[in-house]
């Protein structure tokens, strides 16, 4: 098969499929790159097939991806589900076909897994805790009662909901006032528009909490365009490379690093371990680190 060209493994080595969300998204790309590096370093202990969908929101396309992997009779599927509910049945079908399935990044809905009587181990970070951490870090720079706004991701996405909850919890704990929560669909450009409008609507706004760094970037540009640099703080999530300069000079106060490069690797190692029958499926937490400007 063609996939053997991209990976060099023994014919007998297990074949692991990594099913991502959009590989055009830096976060998932980093994840995939990390996994590929790991596979190379493993010296052919397993073969890796990496695939992603075109549009992060398109759960149906990811179902096709998983079906395609079932068709290719891979040994294990490590999946970052585009949706926490819609992917459950196809994962169950994969397991029915004797494939080991490990869930990473975005946790499948526990209640439905329960209802379906399926157990799929989750390896990944706690988005809620991560967001809360970022929120609390930001609160240090503000005083109680300050107005803040939240830029949400795609509202139907589980991790978007978790991050929003985390932010809200942190703001509640530190006594901030959330004036508005608006979705910018994870997109920079959209975030810029939304943030601009919010800034003009709320002249006393002190901070914008963005559910990912792409949106944070858009918010930073909006703050600049509104001439309120230094008056409005911005935080993000994911620690992508483009926000590094902003972390340096404090235009972004904090972000969270989920160790994208290791996230998939954890999942793959876990899948391999299950294949070797050494572990029973259990959820596993991966670290989320708070990233703050280095100087100061």
């Amino acid at each position: 098969g063609k996939e053997d060209l991209s990976t060099d493994a023994d014919a007998s080595a297990p074949r692991v499929a990594l099913v991502m969300k959009s590989l055009a998204n830096e976060f998932f790309k980093t994840m995939a790159d990390g996994a590929e590096a790991h596979q190379k370093a493993s010296g052919g202990a397993y073969a890796l097939i990496v695939n992603g969908i075109k549009d992060e929101r398109d759960a149906a396309q990811q179902v096709t991806l998983v079906e395609s992997m079932i068709a290719q009779k891979v040994d294990a599927i490590v999946i970052a589900p585009a949706d926490s509910k819609a992917l459950i049945s196809v994962c169950r079908r994969a397991m029915d076909a004797g494939i080991v399935v490990v869930n990473i990044d975005n946790k499948l809905d526990a209640a439905i897994l329960e209802k379906e009587g399926t157990r799929i181990p989750f390896v990944g970070p706690d988005n809620y805790e991560g967001a809360k951490m970022v929120g609390l870090e930001m609160a240090k720079h503000l005083s109680a009662g300050d107005e803040v706004a939240i830029l949400e991701g795609v509202p139907t996405a589980f991790n978007a909901q978790q991050r929003r909850k985390g932010f809200e919890e942190a703001m509640a704990e530190s006594g901030m006032k959330i004036v508005t929560v608006q979705s910018a669909q994870w997109e920079t450009e959209k975030a810029n528009t939304v943030a601009s409008a919010i800034l003009s609507e709320y002249p006393n706004l002190k901070a914008i909490l963005a559910s990912n760094d792409s949106m944070a970037l858009g918010a930073v540009a909006a703050v600049k365009a509104a001439d309120r640099v230094g008056q409005v703080a911005v935080v993000g999530f994911d620690n992508i490379s483009a926000v590094q300069p902003m972390l340096e000079d404090g235009r972004i106060l904090a972000t969270a690093d989920q160790h994208a490069d290791q996230l998939a690797v954890y999942g793959i190692e876990y899948a391999l371990a299950i294949l070797r029958d050494t572990v029973t499926p259990e959820d596993k937490q991966t670290p989320v680190d708070l990233i703050v400007p280095s100087e100061k």
């Binding site: 759960a59 149906a60 096709t64 819609a86």
Partner: protein, 323 residues
């Protein structure tokens, strides 16, 4: 040129559609040689079961394009219908038939509104359906409270492969609708009016035929089929996704246009639109199986779409000089 007015011989019908099929076969062969796992029953099973929702939507879109209209709202209407069915089944505890009916009626209603506004107020259908794209999406969020709704077993059987060939009920329905759609377009008064309206609406009007009703019917039909597509989409995911079907209109229009239907109206073929769907899906699945990277996937998809149509243009020219 020929599909619509095509009534000469079954032979020419064959050549017409076989031509499009040829391009499809080239693609399948290419992927077959590129990766071992492509030529397996499971690939084709997957193909069958992936396409029903797009297929039924494309049937309606073909009619919309034939009357020189366009329906941009199909993705949102599908999402709205699907979520409504999902909410009905999970929260209001309706049975599948009742929920399905509600979904279809919702689709029909959205489509009828598109048609009535665009026809009676002579607003371009592009704008009306663009408005509906936003409205139906908003309604879907509202119905589902912006949550994906897990439905599970009650709808899944619709998408479950059955029998030796592994065809799902959804696929069978979709395929039947393609056949019916083609027959309606070629063999019925309604289809003939649709083609005539798309060619020159004023001529139809001056022939004493009121073009408004057929036009409204076409949009209502497109809405209805989008509703069905939403149901199939939910069946496939076992869940109703208020965010689903974003950008579906472009895929649907692309499939129809690849199938040779003109955006300017007046000619089209439902069967060729279906082949357009197959071409798009084969490219998609083939590239997944080859394990292409994202940039390569995009570039190859783009190039193949253009080449498919260029090949079709040449084939048609050849065919025309022949005839």
């Amino acid at each position: 040129m020929k599909q619509a007015g095509n009534q000469r011989h079954w032979l020419s019908f064959g050549i017409e559609h076989l031509g499009m099929l040829g391009i499809l076969i080239v693609l399948i062969t290419f992927f077959g040689f590129s990766t071992d796992s492509f030529f397996t029953p499971s690939t084709f099973k997957m193909l069958y079961n992936q396409i029903p929702s797009l297929t039924v939507i494309v049937v309606g879109m073909t009619f919309a394009l034939v009357v020189a209209g366009i329906d941009l709202s199909v993705g949102s209407v599908a999402a709205l219908s699907g979520t409504l069915a999902g909410v009905a089944m999970t929260q209001w505890e309706w049975s599948l038939p009742a929920a399905a009916l509600a979904a279809l009626l919702t689709g029909l209603l959205c489509g009828a509104v598109n048609g009535v506004i665009s026809v009676l107020w002579s607003v371009p259908s592009f704008i009306v359906t663009l408005g509906m794209l936003e409205i139906a999406r908003g309604a879907a969020y509202w119905v589902a409270n912006s949550q994906m709704i897990y439905i599970g077993a009650p709808v899944e059987w619709l998408a479950e492969p059955m029998g030796a060939l592994g065809l799902s009920p959804a696929f069978i329905v979709a395929f039947a609708l393609v056949v019916i759609g083609q027959i309606v377009l070629v063999q019925t008064v309604f289809g003939r009016y649709a083609i005539a309206i798309g060619t020159n609406e004023e001529v139809v009007r001056l022939s004493g035929v009121d073009p408004r009703l057929p036009k409204i019917a076409v949009f209502a039909l497109s809405g209805l089929l989008a509703g069905l597509g939403g149901l199939f989409y939910a069946a496939r995911l076992s869940a109703a996704d208020p965010n689903g079907g974003v950008g579906l209109e472009l895929s649907a229009i692309a499939a129809v246009v690849i199938g040779g239907t003109s955006l300017m109206g007046g000619r089209g073929s439902v069967v060729n639109s279906f082949i357009g769907v197959l071409i798009i899906s084969v490219i998609e699945i083939g590239l997944i199986q080859i394990g292409a990277t994202e940039p390569i996937k995009r570039i190859v998809t783009g190039v193949v779409i253009v080449l498919a149509v260029v090949a079709d243009v040449y084939r048609r020219k050849l065919y025309e000089t022949m005839d």
